[in-house]
């Protein structure tokens, strides 16, 4: 180097030579940027005539020269950023093909994957530059996964921490970073304005305290969206134009209300019906319904048949039973009739109708003779005989009457006879009475008639009187259990009362003087019973006692009147009625 400088002539214009020696010691004392690198000699203030800062170095650490009237951009401050060129240079790959994909790549970072070639549309297996074998590889190994996970985690954590810090209040942030640092600073020996004082310094670095209540210095503006990243090349064929048919398929007819039709569309009837949805629902009936109804029919038929058979059988049975019963009844009736008619019961038992008739005739004969005998054998008569005789006589008279009647009947004309028979039909219940089968028509024994109707005076007493009449007390005031709640003196319980008096009292009590409607006979029983029963109702145990008192002050008044005293208000006393339970 030195040799070269010796050969070369002296430079004509040297800034070093021009610049006067450093005089000013007023250079800021706290300059932190070392002036070591500043090789250019900048004329000091006042000596800068004909000097123009040209390079960045001329501005040192960023100060401008306001006295020099030239556009200055210290450390590029204020320089307008020049846009990157929109023109791409033509690039060629190793085979000499033009790399058109650089257009698609433009604006993307290097690691961005951009598919831009036709071959990327071809399935991989069919591509010539892809070897056969496993086209899709296995998932990456564990180490790779862990590595990527670690990297991602770090990146994400950084982001999260930043976000979390931003979400914290500002005072909290400053607290954390309040530690001060001390820096020992030694300026270079060649620095301008170096004095003994400024040779070596210790600088304390600390955060500027921030007022937590300070309003924000910057207005937050909504940042407009960044322009979207340049579009990726489209890797599919263009969509096919829509055919008319496809278009027709997509036509959706306008919706027309069933109620309003402002535009007056006409809707074909079939369309209306179709839209109705009636045709859409097809009625499906399960087979099981048919099966069920069939089964029901069969079962019904079967059941009917069974019922019919059973009823037939029952009818037969009932018929038989009825017959046998009738037979039995007939026999019983026969027997009873014979018993009543005949004397010899034992004879009747095995006798037929003829026999009985014979026996009856015998009896008649016998009885007639018996009456004759009776007069003869008076001495031998005892109770038994008398009885027998009496019965026999009765029977005889009965028979006589019967015979007379039969005679009358035989003498009757045909017409009268028929009448008589018809009258007597169903009237003869003698058999039934004999058998004890005849029942009174009213099974309960109660009369079907309102008995009040039978007796006039009773009817009058009862409620049958007309509505016009005003009978206030048609019923007793206290009836039934209410009547018993009242106190009655109970003479029976008291021992000290004279029995005679007690009797008279009880008698008078049982006497239903006011027609309360309770039975006088059952009153004693009733009394005790009702007492027991009405204990729940807090029956009065003793009569109500009244204290003697001059309620209305009548006595007093009279006394005073007699005494001739004047009544004073103060002395007036009223004793209220006291009612003790």
């Amino acid at each position: 180097m030195s040799a070269l400088s010796q050969i070369l002539p002296e430079p004509k214009y040297s800034s070093k030579k021009d610049s006067p020696p450093i005089q000013s010691s007023k250079i800021e004392t706290t300059a932190l940027v070392s002036i070591d690198t500043n090789k250019r000699n900048i004329p000091s203030y006042g000596n800068r005539k004909n000097w123009i800062p040209t390079t960045l170095e001329d501005f040192g650490d960023g100060g401008a020269y306001p006295e020099i009237l030239v556009g200055q951009y210290p450390i590029r401050m204020g320089l307008k950023k020049t846009k990157k060129g929109q023109v791409l240079s033509k690039q060629v790959d190793s085979q000499g093909n033009v790399k058109y994909d650089s257009i698609a790549r433009f604006g993307h970072s290097e690691d961005r994957i951009v598919q831009s070639q036709f071959k990327e549309l071809i399935p991989l297996r069919e591509r010539i530059d892809v070897k056969d074998g496993n086209i899709i590889h296995l998932r990456p190994q564990q180490e790779d996964i862990i590595e990527t996970a670690q990297k991602t985690r770090e990146a994400l954590e950084k982001k999260i921490n930043g976000k979390l810090a931003a979400s914290k209040p500002r005072s909290r942030q400053t607290e954390v970073e309040s530690g001060a640092t001390f820096i020992k600073y030694t300026p270079s020996s060649s620095a301008t304005g170096l004095t003994a004082q400024t040779s070596q310094r210790v600088i304390r670095m600390s955060e500027m305290p921030v007022d937590p209540m300070e309003p924000p210095k910057f207005r937050h503006k909504r940042v407009p969206n960044a322009p979207p990243s340049p579009p990726a090349p489209v890797m599919h064929s263009p969509p096919r134009p829509v055919t008319v048919e496809e278009q027709k398929e997509w036509v959706i007819p306008p919706c027309i209300s069933n109620w309003k039709n402002a535009k007056g569309y006409t809707i074909p009837l079939d369309k209306r019906l179709a839209a109705d949805g009636r045709g859409l629902q097809e009625v499906k009936i399960n087979d099981n319904f048919a099966k069920l109804s069939e089964a029901l029919l069969a079962a019904e038929r079967h059941a009917r048949e069974e019922v019919r058979q059973r009823s037939l059988l029952q009818q037969n049975l009932a018929h038989k039973e009825k017959e046998s019963k009738e037979e039995h009844l007939r026999q019983l009736a026969q027997r009873a009739r014979e018993q009543r008619a005949g004397v010899n019961v034992h004879e009747v038992n095995n006798g037929s109708n003829l026999d009985t008739a014979h026996a009856i005739s015998n009896n008649i004969d016998y009885s007639s003779s018996d009456t004759e005998n009776k007069s003869k054998k008076d001495s031998r008569s005892d109770n038994d005989d008398n009885e027998k005789e009496r019965t026999r006589r009765e029977i005889r008279e009965d028979k006589k009457r019967e015979l007379k009647r039969e005679l009358r009947m035989s003498n009757m004309g045909a017409e009268a006879k028929a009448k008589y028979i018809s009258r007597m039909e169903n009237r003869d219940i003698s058999e039934k009475i004999a058998l004890g089968l005849a029942k009174p028509s009213n099974p309960t024994g109660d009369s079907m008639f309102d008995t009040r109707l039978l007796h006039r005076n009773e009817a009058a007493a009862a409620n049958l009187n007309d509505d016009e009449s005003y009978n206030v007390y048609d019923k007793p005031l206290l009836q039934g259990s209410n009547a018993n709640a009242n106190y009655r003196p109970r003479a029976m319980d008291t021992d000290d009362i004279d029995p005679d008096i007690a009797e008279s009292v009880s008698k008078s009590l049982t006497n239903d003087r006011f027609g309360f409607g309770f039975n006088p006979e059952s009153s004693s029983k009733y009394d005790s019973k009702e007492n027991r029963k009405s204990k729940n109702n807090a029956v009065r145990q003793e009569p109500i006692e009244f204290e003697k008192g001059d309620v209305f002050g009548v006595d007093k008044f009279l006394n005073e009147a007699k005494m001739g005293l004047k009544r004073t208000r103060n002395t007036e006393e009223r004793s209220p009625k006291r009612h003790r339970d």
Partner: protein
């Protein structure tokens, strides 16, 4: 390309005919002559090329293998319905199996989360708290927590030891449609109708990142342990792979034409499925290279799942289900979900699906308010159910 398939003889005939025509015709109309000559030039060009063996254009050489033979698909036993669980009063929109594989949770439009025993299918618990349909569920493998999100913009963290909500993650501007837990980090990703995916710190409830970039509702989110750690599928028919550390998009996959409503990660392989109404597409990580299509499931696919036996499942809005071989994309079974008795035909639809932790049971949440459990047919063998596989050499458009 189509012209290439015409045989050489035919081409020659055509050319000859054209030449004769041209010879006969006088140059009456300059326009027509230029047109004809142009055609001639093109055909001639073709002719000259087709003299030798047909070679694809130089650019195509990179692209298409000459003798590509599609691989033979693996045999899988067909799946059949084994259980139907009724109990929800609305559509079942989300499902999650517990890491211990003892029970699973289902979230429904009836605003409840129900917990079912996986083996017996009995209802164990009903959790109420959401005020709108529950759209996303996940059970943490490292905490006793169940996470749920719903259309009520709420993300809830349920403590399963007390069966109570212990945390809320507040911030979404609209209904939340999906959620996913990070398998290693304590991070939860939710996404929904506000077209953003939000990354939450589980413990502090802070939103670490708001992943913006999608232009429409995000319908599916998946997290995984390796980069890219977050994958979202959106109604703007794109799939985005995200750099979780930076909170930026790593790649945008624009292969789909219709909205992507379901994503499924393979449990052992480093790839995933994205299901859309036009196609189900398989991609591989980490770059998101397109692997293949699972074609011809032409309906709105709401649910997709993959198990470790390389069986992929897709369930659609109209109740159609497909079972696919993961490696080859061969559909080995088509099923239609059977409606619960009493429900309409229109109520057959699959909204959520998941394999249990063993991969032997498939649980689907359906529009007929039931949860259905499918299993493999044990009696099936490759002999009884042969693979119906007809590979074609037909050239495809991409």
């Amino acid at each position: 390309m189509a012209l290439l398939f015409i045989s050489n003889d035919e081409v020659e005939k055509i050319i000859n005919g054209l030449q004769e025509k041209q010879a006969k015709s006088s140059f009456k109309n300059s326009k027509s002559s230029t047109k004809n000559s142009g055609a001639l030039v093109r055909t001639k060009d073709l002719h000259s090329k087709s003299q030798g063996p047909i070679e694809p254009p130089s650019g195509m050489q990179l692209v298409r293998k000459q003798n590509y033979e599609p691989p033979k698909p693996e045999w899988h036993a067909p799946w059949k319905l084994s259980k139907v669980l009724a109990g929800h009063m609305g559509w079942v929109r989300s499902l999650a199996v517990e890491p211990g594989n003892k029970w699973f949770a289902s979230g429904s439009v009836d605003r409840t989360i129900k917990i079912w025993d996986l083996a017996s299918g009995t209802l164990k618990l009903t959790l109420t708290g959401h005020i709108s349909p529950v759209r996303g569920l996940e059970v943490s493998s490292r905490h006793p927590y169940l996470f749920s999100c719903g259309e009520d913009k709420m993300v809830k963290c349920w403590d399963l030891e007390q069966n109570k909500v212990v945390r809320h993650y507040h911030g979404h501007l609209s209904g939340i449609y999906t959620l996913s837990l990070h398998p290693i980090l304590d991070v939860l990703v939710t996404a929904g109708r506000d077209a953003t995916a939000r990354v939450w710190d589980i413990r502090t409830k802070q939103a670490i990142h708001v992943l913006t970039g999608h232009k429409a509702t995000i319908a599916a989110v998946k997290c995984q342990e390796a980069d890219p750690q977050v994958i979202t599928g959106s109604m703007d028919s794109t799939v985005r792979l995200w750099d979780l550390a930076a909170g930026k998009t790593m790649a945008t996959l624009t292969h789909h034409k219709k909205s992507v409503r379901a994503l499924a990660l393979h449990p052992t392989q480093f790839g995933f499925l994205s299901a859309s109404a036009d196609n189900i597409k398989q991609f591989r990580f980490p770059k998101g290279d397109f692997v293949q299509n699972f074609p011809n499931h032409n309906s709105i696919i709401n649910a997709a799942s993959v198990n470790s036996d390389n069986v992929a499942f897709s369930g659609a809005d109209n109740g159609s289900m497909r079972f696919w071989d993961w490696t080859t994309g061969h559909c080995f079974q088509e099923l239609d979900s059977q409606n619960m008795p009493g429900s309409l035909d229109s109520e057959s639809g699959i909204f959520a699906s998941t394999f249990d932790k063993t991969g032997l049971r498939l649980i689907t949440g359906e529009a007929d308010k039931s949860i259905k459990i499918y299993k493999e047919d044990e009696n099936a063998t490759p002999e009884t159910h042969p693979i119906n596989w007809k590979p074609t050499l037909k050239s495809r458009n991409y």
